[in-house]
């Protein structure tokens, strides 16, 4: 539906889609005129992280400590952003962000951790925890005007201890003897465009 917070564009897309109902020359496949869509993207300011996080070189040997520090630094940004938007989409794992960090780090430390999920497997719980951690960071990062998805993704996976932790998580799930952990480790934690970064974990 176009870029976020573009109500005019979204409405025109919706109207154009519903307008196709009047057509009798079906089936219909129409392109939506993308002039406005382009304008929205071109107007977007350059995004930067709302706070200065320690660079990767400072924490690479101690990512779990750096993760806790990042969370404390970013927490006020997330609170402000969520107050501004009036919503949060965090919560799919059922854990708070500190529980997520503990849970993921426990698995990284010991892949044979006991897990007694009622309706879900360890692999599924790890995936939802990873999804929530990303959402938490994205909500904090979205405070900055001009947010665009590519820049946030690049920042998360290449510059944050959270991204590094999820790369580490995926690398361990990939080599698990349990099939579901392997499947989700391969395809469910790290997007295709950033899979190559897992190699740096092994170095």
């Amino acid at each position: 539906m176009g870029a976020p917070d573009s109500p005019g564009l979204q409405r025109r897309v919706l109207e154009a889609g519903l307008g196709l109902l009047a057509r009798s020359d079906v089936p219909v496949l129409e392109n939506f005129s993308d002039q406005d869509y382009r304008t929205v993207n071109e107007k977007t300011d350059c995004w930067s992280c709302p706070v200065n996080l320690p660079p990767r070189t400072c924490w690479i040997k101690y990512p779990s400590e750096a993760l806790a520090r990042e969370i404390s630094l970013l927490a006020p940004c997330r609170v402000s952003n969520n107050a501004k938007t009036g919503r949060t989409v965090f919560g799919v794992s059922g854990l708070d962000v500190h529980e997520i960090v503990t849970f993921i780090n426990s698995f990284i430390a010991d892949q044979s951790i006991a897990f007694s999920g009622k309706d879900e497997s360890l692999a599924q719980k790890l995936k939802f925890a990873a999804d929530d951690l990303k959402v938490w960071y994205y909500e904090a990062a979205s405070l900055q005007p001009g947010t665009i998805s590519e820049e946030i993704s690049e920042w998360f996976w290449c510059e944050t201890a959270a991204g590094e932790t999820l790369l580490q998580l995926a690398s361990l799930m990939k080599i698990s003897n349990e099939k579901q952990l392997t499947i989700i480790g391969n395809k469910g934690i790290v997007p295709r465009d950033f899979q190559h970064l897992i190699a740096r974990i092994k170095d």
């Binding site: 109500p7 993308d34 295709r192």
Partner: protein, 153 residues
């Protein structure tokens, strides 16, 4: 809204590999005049209410999103990690244009909005959706819905 040229090479190639079926037949019914249409949203964004069960990969079932739902009550458990959800984080309407639909109702562009909307898990085999889709159609008919807007994610 995204264009192939906006995607990474891998994502674009993946989409181009998907089959594009041809249909020889026509729609089963005549579309209503929009001003008399009762419209529901059907999305494959894998969204659900916070207190509802989350989706799992390949799940063929659906979740009901009441029309009265507030954006802050909706979460996403879409299985695909390649689906960039930063737009959803910023604005629910990128995948579920409920605010825009309300505006169209207020402007009397459409007749009314359905009592409930429906969410499926994207990237699911179509065959796995058939039973749920038929069930959903019954619910839509019961709600007097005569037009749906699909947001494939």
């Amino acid at each position: 809204m995204v264009r192939l040229s906006d995607l990474s090479k891998g994502e674009a190639e993946n989409l181009l590999r998907l089959p594009c079926p041809q249909f020889d037949d026509s729609p089963l019914s005549v579309a209503p005049d929009l001003r008399a249409a009762r419209v529901a949203l059907v999305t494959s964004a894998g969204i659900s209410m916070k207190d509802d069960e989350t989706f799992s990969a390949g799940s063929g079932d659906y979740r009901v999103i009441p029309n009265t739902a507030d954006a802050s009550e909706i979460v996403m458990s879409h299985a695909s990690v390649n689906y960039d959800r930063s737009g959803f984080v910023q604005d629910l309407n990128t995948v579920f244009p409920i605010d825009r639909l309300r505006e169209l109702e207020e402007a009397k562009t459409i007749g009314s909005i359905a009592s409930s909307h429906y969410s499926f898990m994207g990237a699911t085999e179509p065959g796995a959706l058939e039973k749920s889709a038929k069930n959903m159609i019954g619910m839509l008919k019961e709600d007097q819905v005569n037009a749906v807007f699909l947001t494939p994610v």
